[in-house]
Amino acid sequence: MNKKLIALLSLLVIASMALTACGGGAATEAPAATEAPAATEAPAATEAPASEAGQVEVFSWWTGGGEAAGLEAMQAVFESQYPDIEFINAAVAGGAGTNARAVLATRLQSGDPPDSWQGHAGQELIGTYVAGSQIEPLNDLYEAEGWLDVMPETLIPLISQDGNIYSVPVNIHRANVLWYNPALLADNDVEVPNTIDEWFAAMNKLQAAGVQPLALGEQWTKLHLLETVLLGTLGPDAYNGLWDGTTDWGSPEVRIALENYATALSYANSDSASLTWQDASQLVVNGDAAFNVMGDWAEGYFRELGKVPNTDYGWAATPGSDGVFQFLSDSFVLAVGAPDPDAAVAWLKVAGSKEGQEAFNPVKGSICARTDCDKSLFGEYLQSAMDDWSTDIVVGSLTHGVVANDSWKTEIDTALGLFLADGNVDNFQAALVAACSSSGACQ
């Protein structure tokens, strides 16, 4: 009886959605129309730089939540400083930019680069795009803007190759953070561990008391754990040596680190493979697990859940890495063959500027790459991170693209996957040695 009615209603709903979409569609076409006048103003570039006209297409994977809000805040700073340059936000979501990087790769293969794009500072950018001659060195820009004075010394070599600096870091996240539930530790008379042995002892105690010692998630979070255990066991110098060929992956020291890693895994929840990083970190603030090793974007997540620092969650450097800041950074590059290089450079200036970084980072939940940002803009955890950033030794993250290029990291990840399946440390170490020879610094 109601089939015709349902059909009619359906058509009405589709029609109304289509009409609204038409209305929305018209709105999104408006910016394209204003491009034309801006382009014809290009010859007037001989005027003061502030009235440069043009457009900059910025490609990233910041599309939701704090990331998108941070990007919009920085965009607002950019638009106030360069009102004649149109900002085109070409963001594509996907964890760690997996979709964005695929789109970017196809565009670069077709000779259609955006003006600037986001990437993880370090080998992920250098090993991919410098090797492919797709990004420009930025030393002149750094000199002109005085960035070498405000960014940490230990950072610059990690984002350079052969003396050329290739990206402008906007934010800094810390990878080697141990999150814990203060109540669970207090109830079980456990201190926050400083060394790996103390950590295992603490987790033994918790396990005996029936508490889940460690919360882990899907495979990449285990890669994240691996890099912190490598750092905690080997120390910063030997850790750095892994990535420049001076530390032998087949050495007994690395073997000890891998055994520590296997031990750490044994304290993890049995359903880890089915949890995202969010689910795993949430276990800690819910009181379902005591420890979680995750980067400090987890802090932003905890605050979005309404949790209170030092009451619902606490933090420390991962065991064995006190005084070392294992960083990752989102940064922007200048494309070779960018459609509008001047506009792109203008964007990079904002990205590296105090105003730009102060607009972006508090919203995003990270700290500035510059050491001179205003601390009062940041929350409690971030302020402590800022202190550490300016005093600690800086080393790079593996999982988040600083120390290893994409090919090497993929091979390490595959070796890890095989290890998670069979638990054989010897095979794991051999696979890591092979990975270094085939795609890494041991070639």
Binding site: A27, V92, A105, Q109
Partner: protein, 270 residues
Amino acid sequence: MNFIRRNWLYVPLVAMAVFYLIPTYVMLVTGFKSFEEVDLKTMWNLPRGIAFDNYIEAYNKLSPSLRNSFMVVIPSTIISSILGSINGFVLAKWKFRGADFIFPLILFGMFIPYQSIIIPLVQFMRAIGISGLPSLAMAHIIYGIPITTLTFRNYYAGLPQELLEAAKIDGADMLGIYRHILLPISIPSFVVVLIWQFTAAWNDFLFAVILTGNQQWPVTVALNNMAGSQIIAWNVQMAGSLLAALPTLLVYIFLGRYFLRGLLAGSLKG
């Protein structure tokens, strides 16, 4: 048929309905929750309040892209279905030499993994100067041809040859047979093909994100972007997915009317 015997069918039907509804329930319920309520432990719980905030937010973020989706999906679905019907007719009922070779040739194209051809696809589209939504529609039409051809060809192959013989004796040529005899009874097959093509084109993400720029994204890319990359708000995401699935569902309901009975009844007589 026996009244009581037929009604016991409702038991397994309702049991199956439960199987299909359980995930839908989770999606619906999550779509009404606030961000803090989204937790594995409480996934079965009803939301604390029925707030439409998530749906409104999702709608605002998705509606600009809806137009793009419609502009791509509707033409590409119709064109690829018609092409499939014609191909299927030619290949199934007119056994010219090579028909049995051309069919597997076209069919094999269905199995190509799209990830391995996106680079040459983008480069080819650039070379012939087609970009944006038209290129996406073209891709959906072309990559839809194998499967629409398959469905129609097998459907027509199952039809009795007497139908065509009778028409030929009456002097009809190929086009006439197609228009007056085959097309009317193709409707259930069209329904199946239209459903598939609409869904595949509507839900496609890979071609959409690679072939279109950010002002022309269809709704699947907007949906993906709504999720964000690092901290994902599943409540809004679920709400958005249900909204994005609505046009497709309406198409199913609308086309379902055409699963008519006994289209061939009477065609063999006389």
